[in-house]
């Protein structure tokens, strides 16, 4: 019997219409756990570097995590992975909601999709019955509307549906996949789904998920719930309210947005408005938010309520979570929060990433102002800020006129437009739009995370370590006093020593060595969450979270029966990360690509930055170019990867040892 996982994947070939239920090898679970880990292994084995996003051979994998469907709190992530049309490397946006647990109960760990359907279809998975169904009548339907229409059509109110909207059908590079109150947004999964002619995947499951040592597992769940209760009742005192709790940022609950609106940049990630949050704004936003939010909602098996049902006058009800509340308003320079409730509904129906899209629209406005886009390009566009954004949003989703350029994201649009447009593509890393933040002094931790992480999206890399040093020593001391989540006591000292000014401040402190350790720890947590299917808001992406390195192994071991301790777990996710990196290296990614957005910080330190990269690479066991070395790959039982990289000339036999030593020195 298989525990925690079902032991079966669904293999769908949309070209031939074949549907197979394939038993998986338990050895892969031991090596890679599940979720992103086992998905990366499948991509490595089956998707060569020559395959492009819109090739039939590009695999689109919908994966549960190892703990999804078990009683582990917040184990509800669906990880969608594919070669991204925007970045040309592996994207793996995940979504919360209710889909992955349902897939487990239907008896599958992953749905692996290849090929392309000649007509628009959707997939209906109901336990052992799996059907490819016609979706031509759903063409052009919104991503939210589609979910409801499919549930009605199937007469299955309990089916969970992940769907794309018009943007996905039109292969917009920033198209998302929407499901319940969540979406899988970054990197254009919706475009790949649309390219494959797949409108949606509906799933309903009524089978068991087994636990190896269930009684013990439930004790761990109880401990965790106790901690969650305690943590909800005792928010962290030393940080501002929006960062003080657990779960995804509680932006549906908190109205006070002083921090986001004043510290983050407006427009095309340009301008900070340091005196935005006035009493008047607070009053108007309070009224807007309290009247728009009808109910707070959670994901599967989670007590937090990061999402909300939005019922704003004149807008059909829909659900929202987190940062989308601000991205469109800030990019459009609109101060009225009502605008957010209206435009998000439209954007979610189109199925568009709420991080990238607003920046793309703001980029278009800038190009118009600079005369690169002409008045003829903007013909018919309203002149008010709100109307202009709605108009641009329509163009992008439909790929109409200038929308056809914009639909490829700022990087590719700038390239195609030319005429100096490249200068306006200032906020991308590896061709992907980044958080709208512009700061003064280089931060060594964030430099490393922006530059090197496979995720290319900072909110899913950072997390447990505060974003800035605390001003007073007292605050630092009280923060570290109760910090059992740390992997090692030495991190306390790092934090105590870290100061806003002087010798022990950015950019030289944390030192490159310490920065590597901190970044490595935060990335590791994300890699664990992504393998287990846990919400980052309960582990890797908040301060002092319920899940941490000391209790993950208990959940894994009692759920699966595998003996996994902290060391073993670290090794597994290290293996996953190195395989993942090698996969991207094989597609051409290397040191030259590892850069933060050029103007993220005003004060840059080229020499230090080189030293940071080199130190971090050495720490990870990568060579000067950021490629995992043979010794590191060997240590992680990835010799076949070293062989492959050598065969392709990406790793040069023998040389890497030398590089490695150079790095150490």
């Amino acid at each position: 019997m298989r525990y925690a996982e079902t032991g079966y994947n669904l293999e769908i070939d949309l070209t031939t219409g074949s549907i197979e239920r394939v038993e998986t090898d338990p050895k892969q679970t031991e090596l890679h756990l599940g979720g992103l880990g086992t998905s990366v292994k499948i991509h490595w084995d089956r998707v060569g570097p020559e395959v492009k996003a819109f090739d039939a051979e590009n695999l689109l994998i919908f994966s549960t995590g190892l703990l999804c469907g078990t009683p582990a709190v917040s184990a509800n992530r669906t990880l969608v992975s594919f070669i991204s049309p925007q970045t040309d490397i592996l994207a793996y946006p995940m979504m919360g909601g209710f889909w992955s647990s349902e897939l487990k109960y239907a008896g599958y760990d992953k749905v692996i999709i290849r090929g392309k359907s000649p007509r628009l279809v959707y997939l209906w998975i109901h336990n052992d019955e799996v059907e490819i169904r016609d979706a031509t009548h759903l063409r052009g339907q919104g991503a939210i509307a589609t979910q409801e229409l499919i549930r009605e059509e199937l007469n299955e109110p309990k089916a969970q549906v992940a769907a794309i909207g018009l943007a996905g059908e039109n292969r917009v590079f920033v198209a998302s996949i929407e499901q319940a109150r969540s979406s899988s947004s970054r990197g254009g999964g919706g475009a790949v789904m649309g390219d494959k002619g797949l409108k949606a995947i509906a799933v309903r499951g009524t089978k068991d998920v087994n636990l190896a040592r269930g009684a013990e597992f439930m004790l761990h769940v109880q401990d965790l719930k106790k901690f969650i209760k305690h943590r909800n009742e005792n928010p962290i005192q030393e940080v501002m309210p929006i960062l003080s709790g657990i779960g995804s940022p509680q932006m549906m609950k908190h109205i006070d947005e002083k921090w986001h609106t004043e510290s983050f940049a407006w427009g095309n990630a340009r301008q900070r408005r340091k005196d935005f949050w006035t009493e008047e704004v607070e009053k108007s936003w309070t009224k807007s938010q309290t009247s728009a939010i009808k109910r707070f909602i959670s994901c599967f098996n989670c007590p937090q309520q990061c999402g909300a049902l939005i019922c704003h006058e004149g807008v059909p009800p829909y659900m929202m979570k987190c940062f989308s509340k601000l991205t469109y308003a800030m990019a459009a320079y609109v101060d009225d929060l009502d605008f957010s409730w209206k435009i998000c509904k439209k954007a979610f129906e189109y199925g568009l990433d709420s991080f990238s899209t607003p920046q793309i629209l703001a980029f278009a406005v800038e190009l118009h102002e600079a005369g690169i886009f002409t008045d003829a390009d903007f013909e018919g566009c309203p002149t008010d800020k709100e109307g202009r954004f709605f108009w641009l949003l329509d163009r992008v989703a439909r790929r109409e006129g200038i929308g056809d350029y914009l639909a490829d994201g700022t990087y590719w649009a700038a390239k195609r437009i030319g005429k100096g447009a490249e200068a306006f593509d200032h906020n991308t890393t590896k061709k992907h739009e980044q958080m709208n933040i512009k700061l003064g002094m280089l931060d060594p931790l964030y430099f490393l995370m922006f530059a090197t992480n496979e995720k290319i999206s900072i909110t899913q890399i950072e997390g447990n370590w505060p974003q800035a040093p605390f001003v007073t020593k007292e605050a630092r001391e009280s923060f570290v006093a109760d910090w059992p989540q740390l992997p090692d006591e030495k991190f306390k000292k790092y934090f105590l020593d870290w100061e806003p000014r002087g010798e022990f401040s950015n950019p030289y402190y944390p030192t490159p060595e310490i920065s590597s350790e901190i970044v490595d720890w935060m990335e590791m947590l994300h890699n664990i969450d992504d393998a287990l299917g846990l919400c980052a808001g309960m582990g890797s992406f908040c301060f002092k979270p319920p899940y941490h390195i000391h209790n993950y192994p208990k959940f894994i071991s009692s759920a699966t029966g595998m003996a996994v301790d902290e060391e073993a777990l670290k090794k597994i996710v290290n293996r996953n990360r190195n395989l993942h990196r090698a996969f991207n290296n094989r597609r051409g990614m290397s040191r030259a690509d590892e850069k933060p957005p050029q103007d993220h910080w005003k004060h840059r330190f080229p020499e230090l930055e080189e030293q940071l990269l080199t130190t971090y690479y050495a720490f990870k066991g990568w060579n000067y170019d950021g490629i995992p070395t043979r010794p590191r790959l060997h240590e992680l039982d990835l010799d076949y990867v070293a062989d492959d990289l050598e065969k392709r000339g990406i790793l040069k036999g023998g040389e890497d040892k030398k590089d490695d030593q150079d790095n150490q020195g």
């Binding site: 009683p71 309990k158 269930g214 597992f217 719930k225 909602i297 989670c302 007590p303 049902l309 829909y318």
Partner: protein, 182 residues
């Protein structure tokens, strides 16, 4: 029949607070798994959360009695402008629907208030709901004595309805025959 003191157990459902997380379904199914906590399957849960998200409907319903025949008519409620499903509030395992039936055997399931030995301080779903939607209350009342036979009979009636009396009698005969061999 003699009067005895009986503890009436109530779970008050404050549906307005429900956020639809289904933690109650998860834990109920795990608690009632054989052996206890060996598996999870919300479809086997004795509490089901009826959800129509965009209509703002999140309604936890507990599994009640089995009924061999559906009602003559179906009820449909509209409350606060929200239209609930047909039979939306009904707790019965009824031939008209799949709710509250074991997904494999089709046999009815029923909330037993997590009866166990030693007794729990509160039912599992109540404990699992961190949003205070499910509130457990106990009170003592005098009622007429019943025998455990009643419960057995309900179960058997359900089996008779599903398989027919003859098949069941055959099965009993076979079982009796087998038990002789031991």
């Amino acid at each position: 029949m003699a009067k005895i003191k009986k503890t009436i157990k109530t779970i008050k459902v404050d549906a307005d607070k429900c956020n639809g997380c289904r933690a109650c379904e998860v834990v109920c199914s795990a608690f009632h798994a054989e052996p206890k906590y060996s598996s999870v399957n919300p479809a086997r849960s004795r509490i089901q959360v009826v959800v129509h998200r965009l209509q703002d409907i999140w309604l936890p319903v507990f599994a009640g009695e089995y009924t061999p025949a559906e009602c003559m008519g179906r009820d449909k409620y509209v409350i606060d402008g929200k239209e609930y499903d047909e039979c939306g509030f009904c707790r019965a395992a009824c031939p008209s629907r799949t709710m509250f039936k074991d997904p494999d055997s089709g046999l009815p399931i029923k909330c037993d208030m997590c009866e166990s030995d030693p007794p729990l301080s509160e039912p599992k779903c109540v404990e699992a709901c961190l949003n205070n939607v499910l509130i457990y209350q106990e009170r003592v009342e005098e009622v007429e004595e019943q025998t455990g036979q009643a419960e057995l009979q309900t179960g058997l009636e359900a089996l008779v309805d599903k398989h027919g009396l003859q098949k069941l009698l055959d099965a009993f005969a076979l079982m009796a025959e087998r038990s002789k061999d031991f």
